[in-house]
Subunit: 287 residues, 2 copies
């Protein structure tokens, strides 16, 4: 099995991919962009892909969901049925890393967003240091490692470890850092584990008040909790909006299976993007 991720080594996507290799034996292959990673799995060049889906500093946040939406609308023969096979939530913790613990730093490298998130720390502790932008926090760690003493990187501890850097200070962001959610995409479907989640995409027959309400009515009547709901403009292919809904349960087990068949008659489009095990916080994703 080959698992694609947004490279280089040390990205948050790589960390997510690494987590999944402990669940099934895979060879990891890096791609230069999130879109290239998505296309690789969609074309069947690779079996699996690890991609960010919410609130990431590695690529556009909505790209993955929009891509999955478009895949659902494709009807050509080359279509691969990729679906969501797993999820993972990573804490984004910025660290200052360098080749050693003590050499004075002349330049600190990182992704613009990470530099912005650590601005207060940098102004307090390194007011004279030159800041340089990189494509990702992993690139920053790789460059600092290659250039040696005097070069620092703001990156995850995982990236520092990947490039043999020493972590000088952990948790340097001015505000509590966010989490990023990752999805594992592939062409098989995990069986029900008893603690599963299902991701749906749906569009309503027409843009009328109460359309979404009548959808949620079915979930409420069946006692199914929603864990996420989001509307996205559909670019008019399918009325005004499409909805992404995550709910408890597996598509092949009750009561969700029954609800899905009821929803078929109430929606202009209903696609199951995948049924997969719920990620349990405190798993060993940060090892």
């Amino acid at each position: 099995m080959i698992l694609a991720y947004l490279g280089p080594e040390g990205t948050f996507s790589h960390q997510a991919a690494h987590y999944w290799t402990r669940q099934q034996d895979c060879e990891l292959v890096s791609y230069p962009t999130v879109m290239a990673t998505l296309l690789a799995v969609s074309r069947g060049d690779v079996h699996l892909a690890a991609v960010p889906v919410e609130n990431s500093i590695e690529g556009s946040v909505n790209l993955t969901m929009d891509f999955l939406a478009k895949e659902q609308l494709r009807t050509d023969m080359r279509k691969t049925d990729i679906s969501i096979q797993g999820e993972l939530v990573l804490d984004i913790v910025h660290c200052l890393a360098a080749v050693d613990k003590s050499s004075p730093l002349e330049t600190i490298l990182s992704h613009p967003q990470a530099l912005a998130q650590c601005r207060g720390y940098l102004e307090n502790h390194f007011p004279q240091v030159r800041l340089e932008q990189t494509e990702s926090t992993a690139h920053a760690a790789a460059i600092a490692a290659a250039r040696g003493a005097g070069w620092g990187a703001i990156s995850s501890a995982y990236a520092a470890d990947t490039y043999n850097l020493a972590v000088r200070q952990k948790n340097i962001a001015d505000i509590t850092p966010n989490q990023t959610r990752f999805l594992l995409l592939g062409d098989s479907e995990p069986e029900s584990t008893g603690n599963d989640k299902t991701s749906l995409m749906l569009a309503l027959p027409q843009d009328k008040p109460g359309g979404l309400y009548s959808i949620l009515q079915e979930f409420a009547a069946a006692g199914i909790n929603l864990t996420r709901i989001e509307s996205r403009p559909s670019k008019k292919e399918l009325g005004d909006y499409i909805f992404f809904i995550d709910c408890e349960g597996h598509r092949r087990t009750q009561p969700l299976q029954r609800v899905l068949s009821l929803l078929n008659t109430k929606t202009a489009l209903l696609s199951v993007l995948g049924s997969y095990p719920v990620f349990v916080q405190g798993s060993d994703a940060h090892d």
Copy 2:
């Protein structure tokens, strides 16, 4: 009136701020991060702030909504009642810009995400050119302008114009570029125009199936369309989730006023983030 925006000049935030100066006379002041811009209006240092709210390459996408949510939960005396006073949707169109139309380019500058979005174009047309990361597409235009011939920038036409660069090629992104939505924040409340939108934040009394459903029931019964719905993890301050809902209508006019009072009894928290005129696509925001 002073209006804060994420600088430098030429950012998409600056373009949004510039649009609003044509509706009310304001002096524009730039801030270095989205968070600094939000804090400036929250502390009362400025009267208004223009901030991105969805799908931006300038700062974290969820930052603005999370900030507004936290503001609603503050109860200290220094609290300023900021609310949403307007919205604006900008097309993100990447251009290749330089000081002149024809000098060969040795380096092309841009924000990592813009470089990634234009990778195919760059590989086809500039395979030998060195790529350099910048903090924003506006910074790229500013640096290209300062360094002169041989330096290109991927930026908006607005940024190119701001720094007197020539646009060599428009629309160079490999995939259809996205739109970014901006909000105008301030401490007054626009009166009803007859074509308004209201943004709400709400939390349910407990995480039970059907909670959201019973909320949407009120909107459906009153014939009020929702234009956006999104759940966000609440970090456990208020149960598991908070919901951001945009709906048609103004808080001070019927039927929305009546629905809001009905919702008060069904929610653990209900905050009106603002009532403001709907942005009409095709307005002169790109001039």
